[in-house]
Subunit: 245 residues, 2 copies
């Protein structure tokens, strides 16, 4: 597949929201820094031009699309600037309607979007609360969130439909599962020491999460995941970010 | 336009989220209780079957689609049940790709979705806070939210593109503006008496909101709005819900 217009993705390796869009672009077959420019933003030291010229909200991900072919650090006023990770996932799916990032069937498309909604409302708040030491019931919120997502998943393979196609539903959740794995197995969080490792052990062994484990294996084996996720980098970053006193 | 499968919309006149979907269906030209069944759920006294058979979250809106032709109160296990208002807006747009509920151009589609995101993050929290007496700067949050939406609007007409087509961006925000009007002009809220009316007067006269006023006139003149919004009903409901002590 090929792009009709120049595209720059402003992203950051550490950011799960930005990772969503990297996955979607990878799944279309586009090559980073060949078919589009991948521009890493240092979130702790953003370029001066980023907020005024690319994203007024100053967050990643953002996309510059169209206009003259320019480098990411020389943004043109003639390109369209787009932001918000879920908007961008739909945008990539719209650019490549044959990529299978969204099923053709309206009911399955609704299920993909409902899955993302369930992730945002059931899993994400519990996961953030746990890592931030604000959970009142340990990792149970994470476990329950995963079970609720399992209930919405295809019986095998990926999340939606017959489980064969990687959709925006997968792109939306995978970056957060990847960061959860790194966090839990290294005990990166402000919960009592050992609770992360214990939760990860439970996720790895308890029958409640059998479907999720297979899902996670399936995802991690994909080229799109391997080329967009840098576990060593994330581990290093998180090790300084989540220091236990 | 015609539906290929039976569709029941579970809705409630009072609910802005449900109203979103009523607007989208009306804009496709489908007639309520002719082309699809409109099933009013009494939110204070929901039917016993609603939560187990239609929506586990027990909220409106929900859609039953497909399966045998049955009445809304006799749901079939063979139909698909869908929920979440934004998921349903996309679903209606997907059922009727020629309805113009979403533009064809991927960039304009992204702008429609970004507009909804801006509404949800900039306007809605401020509006809820004001009505609930939790705003620390009076109606300024509402005013600022409206200005931010104005900045994203087409120069005239409806929200997106050339302003000629009613899109899911309009469907997503209109129900909330309609309820804001009823609330402010009747002073329905737990803020100090008179503050609602004063805010409405400002919205009606201040040059800051000229674009929004024209937008709001354009929307209110549409058949889809007139047939889906019952101002008298809402005024009566709100008058008992937001009683000032």
């Amino acid at each position: 597949m090929a792009l009709l217009e120049p595209l720059v993705l402003y992203t950051a390796k550490i950011c799960p929201f930005a990772h969503r869009v990297e996955l979607a672009l990878a799944e279309t077959g586009l090559k980073s820094n060949k078919d589009f420019e991948r521009y890493e933003i240092d979130l702790k030291n953003k370029p001066d031009w980023y907020q005024p010229k690319i994203n007024p909200a100053s967050k990643v991900p953002a996309i510059s699309y169209g206009g003259p072919k320019v480098t990411g650090d020389q943004p043109s006023s003639e390109s369209t600037k787009l932001a918000e990770s879920l908007v961008l996932l739909e945008f990539v799916a719209d650019l490549f309607p044959n990529s299978r990032l969204l099923p053709k069937d309206p009911v399955l498309r609704a299920k993909a979007r409902f899955f993302i909604d369930a992730f945002a409302n059931k899993f994400a708040p519990a996961s953030f609360a746990f890592q931030g030491g604000k959970s009142t019931n340990g990792a149970e919120g994470i476990f329950s969130g995963i079970e609720q997502l399992q209930d919405l998943m295809a019986p095998e393979g990926l999340a939606i439909g017959d489980g064969k196609d990687f959709t925006i539903a997968d792109a939306a959740v995978v970056p957060f599962f990847a960061r959860m794995e790194v966090s839990l197995k290294n005990d990166f969080g402000v919960y009592p020491e050992g609770e992360g490792k214990k939760a990860w052990e439970t996720l790895q062994t308890n029958g409640r999460f059998a479907r999720w484990r297979k899902y996670w294996e399936t995802v991690k084996a994909r080229e799109s995941f391997k080329t967009t996720f840098d576990e060593d980098y994330l581990t290093k970053q998180y090790s300084t970010r989540w220091t236990r006193a």
